[in-house]
């Protein structure tokens, strides 16, 4: 066997010019393009879920236990037109934004201290492992004693629910910034806050964004739960209180409408606000596919 020894002639070929090919790039069909729109796919899923709800509720036929989707929608519409639901949602969102932004500010301070000093790192790690598993609601009784019956207590528990999730994610994001990028930043002579702001924060943005999302969800749940427990501050409670009141009056479609509002706001924030931030930042920069 000496196949390698067999002489072979050299081959030289002329490639066919690309103008003679049938298809080099072909646009996708309309159906394929529609199926590529995420919002449409998600809407389709929502419609199917609503249909299942409607059919099951009609079959159950017990509006006190489980009202139909259409009656929930009607209660929701009445609430919107009457303005009560909007006003309640407004109260909730206002408190929520106060707590959320205060929580993010605290997280920012804590992480910057953690990234610049070793004691800070230890402090952040200790505090996070201590307080992150502690449900914010468990602090509510204490908060009521400290800050009284009002927005102060709510903001306090909200800060607690946001702070640890955001701080933990931001810190782990900072730690995972590639060494090359760090060296590049220092090569430019950046130090201190400019270094954090111009290099670390954008480079860690995927993790920071995850932290912000988790923080938002935690804050929302904590707020609604806290409002269910107490909730009236100066006569007008938020959505949680709306749900609680209507339960007491056995206005079950209104209870569902309240829950529905919580869900709708959650969907909007996730799919409009965070989605757009994501598209404009981490997706555009190719840091997330």
């Amino acid at each position: 066997m000496n196949e390698t020894a067999i002489a072979r002639a050299e081959l030289i070929r002329e490639p066919i010019p690309s103008s003679r090919f049938g298809v080099v790039a072909k646009p996708l069909s309309t159906w394929e393009r529609i199926a590529n729109i995420g919002a449409l796919r998600k809407t389709a899923i929502l419609i199917v879920l609503a249909l299942i709800w409607e059919i099951y509720a009609r079959w159950l036929n017990n509006p006190l236990l489980f009202p139909t989707f259409s009656s929930t929608l009607a209660a929701f519409r009445d609430g919107l037109i009457g303005g009560e639901l909007l006003q309640r949602a407004g109260t909730s969102v206002k408190v929520l934004l106060m707590g959320y932004s205060a929580g993010i500010a605290c997280a920012a301070i804590l992480t910057i201290v953690a990234i610049t000093t070793r004691v800070g790192t230890d402090l952040l790690e200790l505090l996070t492992s201590m307080f992150n598993p502690l449900p914010a609601i468990a602090l509510l009784p204490l908060a009521l004693i400290w800050f009284g019956l009002g927005n102060g207590s709510l903001v306090f528990v909200l800060i607690h629910s946001v702070l640890w999730a955001v701080a933990l994610n931001t810190h782990s994001g900072f730690l995972s910034v590639s060494n090359t990028l760090r060296m590049v930043g220092r090569n430019y002579g950046l130090t201190g806050l400019r270094y954090v702001g111009k290099i670390l924060i954008p480079a860690a943005f995927p993790s920071i964004l995850t932290g912000l999302k988790i923080g938002w969800a935690f804050a929302w749940r904590t707020l609604i739960a806290a409002e269910l427990v107490f909730g009236v501050s100066s006569g007008s409670g938020g959505l949680g209180w709306f749900i609680y009141e209507n339960k007491n009056q056995l206005e079950i479609p209104n209870v569902f409408a309240g829950l529905f509002t919580v869900i709708v706001i959650g969907l909007l924030v996730e799919n409009v606000v965070f989605r757009n931030i994501e598209l404009r930042t981490v997706r555009k920069w190719g840091m997330q596919s």
Partner: protein
Amino acid sequence: MAAIDGSAAPLLDVRGVTLQYKTKDHLVTATYRIDFQVRRSDRFILLGPSGCGKSTLLKAVGGYMSPVEGEIRLKGDIIKKPGPDRMMVFQEFDQLLPWKTVRENVLFPLLASGRLSGSAAERKAMETIALVNLSQFADSLPHTLSGGMKQRVAIARGMAMEPDVLLMDEPFAALDALTRRKMQDELLALWNATQFTVLFVTHSIPEAIKIGSRILLLSPHPGQVKAELNSLAPDAPAAELDLLEKRIHSMLFADAVEETVPHE
């Protein structure tokens, strides 16, 4: 030659530099009492096998670590910390800021260091981008570029700053062979245009001969100076280039000859 050597003060002066770094359970000596001087417009190559501390040495010149013994002076001043007078080009493709376009990436250090501002910075950035033939891609984000293009942006970013010395840490090592050759030619063309000073780390002997004007050979574990040679012009006869390559090869692998007998 001797007259020039005597009169010109070195731009970068490395004297008796010993570098050590700590791993989890060892204190490693990366280089031991290294001496070399880089003059203006040198294409100075640090060449050696892996483990000879050439990248560590470059990091020390960059100011990322300080020597335990000896000193590194740039224009007479001891190097203490990283700074924009010593721009680095890294091997990794992720050295560009992914949230900035090509133009912004080149522009950012100019603005951040306060070297230029406003339209002057803008003009300088676009000029350098044109030098590396990327004008068309000025508004592209790094993740849409190929590896070679990213390295060209990194080089443009370094050159736009007009640093005292451009530090290059195996910038072409992660490229494929064809792109690598093209990039070497481009780097030489850029040098012919502006005569910048460059300190270049590589482990490839042909690359060192092609790019360098002067080559520092280092031996491994720990890194020590083995020789400092003059390279040949890129258009020198092939036989001479070949001879130099063989000479460097035998110098670098003199100790290892007994262990690894070639198979040919």
